[in-house]
């Protein structure tokens, strides 16, 4: 029985070490979703890569049957620009986001968690197509995920 405990502890340590190594030494503090080491910006291909990702992503969400309805009336050019700005800020590229707040942009559209998750999957597909490493994808998603609170319709505010 002592051997089993030792084996489990060793395995847990191995798994934790593996995850730490792939974190590229990034310190795990509860992030405020504002800044990150420049390395993530590099991993996403800096300005050029982020612009390509934003274009790819917007092309997908505006045509995917799960999410297209939400973008029917959108100015897609502006959406592409603002998303590129947002991604630049979040990956530590030093840009300034000049769009409206997440709450403002998504108010009254009746977005559910399932819709949010569909968008996350589409973003994952776009990042994968661009060859971004899985661990780097997750670092970006970790910064974007909490935004669901500003985007998803709460039971108290039904869609208009």
């Amino acid at each position: 029985m002592r051997l089993t405990t030792l084996r489990f502890t060793t395995l847990t340590a191995l798994i934790l070490s593996a995850s730490m190594l792939t974190a590229h030494g990034q310190t795990q503090t509860p992030p405020d979703a504002v800044s990150a080491p420049a390395s993530l910006y590099d991993a996403f291909g800096q300005q050029e890569g982020i612009r390509r990702l934003a274009d790819n992503f917007v092309q997908r969400v505006s045509t995917d049957t799960r999410t297209a309805p939400f973008f029917k009336e959108s100015n897609l050019k502006r959406v592409r620009e603002k998303i590129a700005e947002q991604l630049c800020v979040v990956t530590g590229g030093g840009c300034v986001y000049t769009g409206d707040s997440m709450v403002e942009v998504h108010k009254g559209q009746g977005i559910q968690v399932a819709d949010f998750n569909a968008v996350v999957e589409i973003l994952q597909d776009a990042m994968t197509q661009q060859g971004i490493a899985f661990q780097d994808q997750n670092k970006l998603l970790a910064k974007l995920a909490p935004m669901y609170r500003d985007m998803v319709e709460s039971p108290k505010t039904p869609a208009r």
Binding site: L11, I15, L16, S19, M20, P31, Q112, Y148
Partner: protein, 331 residues
Amino acid sequence: MGNAVPQRVSALHSRFDSHSVLGRHLRLLCAVAVMGASPCVTLAETGKLLLTGGVSSVDGAAGGGISPWAVVGTNATDGQMGYSAYISTLGLPDYRLTTYGAAVAIRNRVEVSASQQDLDASPATGFNALGFSVASGQHIVMNTLGLKVRLAGDAVLDADTWLPQVSLGVLQKETAAATIEPVLRFVGAKTTGTEAYIAATKLFLAQGLLVNATLRYTNANQGGLLGFGSAAPGQNSATWAPEVSVAYLLSRNLAIGAEFRTMPNNLEALGRSAGLGDGLNANHWSDIFVAWAPSKRYSLTAAYVDLGQVVPAITNGRKQSGVYASVQLTL
């Protein structure tokens, strides 16, 4: 006490039958699952991200392989319903455990599960040396009805806080041991029991690492397969048994992990006083696993599981470890 040899008359065949309470629940769950395919229900096709609903644990609740987690199973998120069904098998040196079950999830808030564990307990004929009449190739069947409620948090999306997803769960278990039941009576183990647990799960998204801690209030012997409680003084009441799981996402649809589940050891003292030494000793359970979800609909889990000694008195103290495989279908 000591060398008391109970004289058993022909065994009562209290086999599990479909008229028992849990049997009715199992059929009801299947009926709901079938009805749910009708168009009036929103099927959770795209709800959760892959693998974030966990897999079906051995008790039927969503989680790891041997521990229930705080995650609510299936793909259901707000406003949706989800269904899952699974079958698993575990081959050990002296036993084989086959489990199958189904679960229904409502809106990522409530999970109802039902499962049946079927243990090939052939070594139990070893008790016949004590005067029991265990039939050859006897199986022990345990039915579990589970209810889990998510209290707070989102294990995946709350990535900017340390706060985990927390859920409360109850597992109602009923064990049918047929010709082994006199043995359970002799050791004072009841054939029905209730377990409660609180679980906290968090996916550290930036690291792709999931951690779960579960605290289970239980007096079950070997998870309930050998009944609940014990006739030994002070060994009958439930205790808090901690369980820990970690899982690492290698890719969107592949995860590896390890689990450790502590077990009560209520029967060891009784075994000693009955002259069996540590023959009724129980060990903690642990496993390492790989979970693969080729799509939202299917997942496969393979694991190497170590249950430690399971009734060493009739298995010559052999460590019961072996390969586990499970298939889960989710709608």
